[in-house]
Amino acid sequence: MPFFEIRNIEKKYKEFTLSLSLSIEEGEFLSIIGPSGSGKSTLLSLIAGIESPDSGEMLMDGRDITKEKIQKRGISMVFQDFSLFPSMNVEKNIQFGMKEKDKAKRKELSDKLLEIVGLKDYGKRNVSAISGGEAQRVALARAIASEPRMILFDEPLSALDPPLRKHLRAIIRSIHDSLGITVLYVTHDIEEAFAVSDRIAVMQGGSIVTVKEAEDLYRNPENLFTAFFTGEGTSLPAHLLFDNTDAYAFFRPESAEIVEDSISEDMYPRHIILSDCRVISAEYTGSHYMLGLTYKDYPVLVESSRKPKKADVSVKIPKDSILLLR
């Protein structure tokens, strides 16, 4: 039995319906990604108890918590805007949800948590006088201090700049690993989700379309939406490449290779050759060129270590890296 399970939960709004099932194992780090409006934050609100579902149930350790009060669920949440209590200093914020009553022990625990999140001696500081990165670490320490059974992260790093985001996501993951706490992490940053998660769930239009491990999700997306949402790629009507199919052929840019000399399919039997491609653009990304080409009026993306000298080129793609998707 999974540690946390959502069974056929449904929440209807005027122009949007969230309807899904999901399960999380104990100690797992599961990320949820999806475009804006796909229902990620609504899902977290339902799990936390901020909102109530219209139907369905949520089980934690086999216990139905669907109607349980928000305060009693043992699920704490870290918000995008940090949500530190401005009337309290850093230490008081961390101690706010502690179950421990003894003052000295509370102090000891908050000091320890501050050390874990890299903010030793910050206890007496005013929360309005610390940076965004520090504030989010305090929020994390505060969430842990309440001894939750699961922590929900609602885009916790999106208000921070990219270098800080990378640093903090590593802290979040290492704290998860050392405490073994179950984490549900919502983000719109695919790279962040790939970097920290055990598994990733992709949401679209209020439903979960797939749940997989990061590498599997990238390499073997189950549909075109997931394929494009998790990275760049090319989709061509599959009948252009194969017989008897109305699906789309999808491949990643790094799977394809451009060839400036003339080649034939006989030379590369394990590849699909796209002849008569035209180079439209060549963007240098720092490590490689991302080439934009057209093939029979369809756009094609290919990664290349060098900039092509000719405008008319061929593209060869290993057949086993092409996915047929809808």
């Binding site: 901020i50 305060q71 949500s83």
Partner: protein, 546 residues
Amino acid sequence: MKRKGSGYFILKAIPAVILLLILFLVPLALIFSYAFQDGGKAILNVLEDNYTYYLLSFTVKQAFLSALISVIAALPFSAFFSAYSFPLRKTILTIAQLAFTIPTILVVLGFVIWYGNNGFLNNALRSVLGVSYTPLPILYSFKAIILAHVYLNFPIAFALITARWTQLPPTEENASYTLGQGKAKTFLFITLPRLSGSIASAFILIFLFCFSSFAIVMVLGGNPAYSTLETEIYRRVHVNADLSSAAALSLFAFAVNALLLALTTPGRKERKNERQARVLKKAKGMKLAQAVVLSLIILAFVIPPIASIAVRAFYTKDGIFSLSAWEGIAGRGFGLIGGSVNAAINSLAIGLVTAFLSVWMGSAIATASAKRNSKLLPFITSLPMATGSVMMGLGFIFVTSFIFTKLGIRSYYLSFLFVAAAHLIIVLPFSVRTITPGARAIPDSLSNAAYTLGASYGKTYRSVESPLLRPYRRKAFAFSFALSLGEVNATLMLSSGHVETIPVLIYRMIGSYDYQGAAALGTVLLATALAVFAIGEARWRKDAIL
């Protein structure tokens, strides 16, 4: 959308709402019963009487003109103050905001002393021009009513419009200029529509305020031809002793006022916060000179009537320096002034009771209303605004008379409580309106964070939400205290010799031409109101989260 815990906050607000309804509905019900006694004869008489419609048309006319002139006069000042920064700009804006807390009775007194036929201005003009007649015969006329209303409300229009204009980033105006449009066309087609919300808000606020204006019309009009619905209700109670007719006229005024409130409420939309406020340009050269001139005009309009009160407190009507009024206030005087200490104690005590209760009730109602996203609670709270303070005073007269005569209970403290209750009902809408933006500004995520950490609704309110509301409560307290301190309409209606407050005493002193005594007492009232305003404002700027 409802916020988490709205049920808890509704429960918490129930005692305040019940108290509000009792204090509002009981007097209203008694007014109804008086108006409809003898088969509704009084109400029929009022509806059939042409004089009622004359009163209504005059009331609307003076309120409309006052609001229109205040808003139009404020526009050029607001345009400059929202575009340029210069020394003392903030001070001038703060002085303008004083009008929110200056008791109306002081405006009346200041006008009599400054603009009166023997006032400072006319005396100065007589000596300069060498004439014996009154060069500026302003008082006791229609224009005195309008001028006093503009005096009291121009700063409100100025403050509201300037605040909004300063928030508007000039990008759209700049776009218009780059498209080759001139300043006039840009103002008319770009700026004015963007400002229309705040202009409409200021106009409506001033119109409603002037619609229920009492002391200004009563004293500065000085002529039965200049009667409004409110002054006529007072006359029917205290001159004609015709309570049924007064009750019927009250209901008529209430119906009109409620209709006006209902018509104007959709126009008062919530302000949209712009992401980027405009950067004020530093006034230099000609612009600085313009700033000085505009500031002086505002100061010359606002300061003299109020300052003249403090000056007049030290001079007799013949212009001889005298401390007699101050001695009178200190308890060594005879006649009206002899009651000053008692009136001051009453004013302070009623003010404190009113302010404490209005902040308690205001906090409970504002929080519940914000949590529930309720439209009903703000509506219930704004009901007393539709009645006008004279009508509330009349309602409480009926309550007092019912308890005194029917129940046979007579007590000075009961009268005192009724005055405080009337004040409470009058100031509560302002208190709720002051605290509500604070309650709405508390981010949901902050409360939800506390809930997910296991904190109850009560603990979250006490530890997280209530501290954020503190500056709003403090401002509401200062506002309520200042309003109660200056309240004259309902108190005058109610306190037929029972509970005398400073404004009532000042009103009576003006009536008995004891201007020096009124000025001395007015100075005390002014100093207290200013001190409360300063404390509320200083702490507000320091702590407010908006």
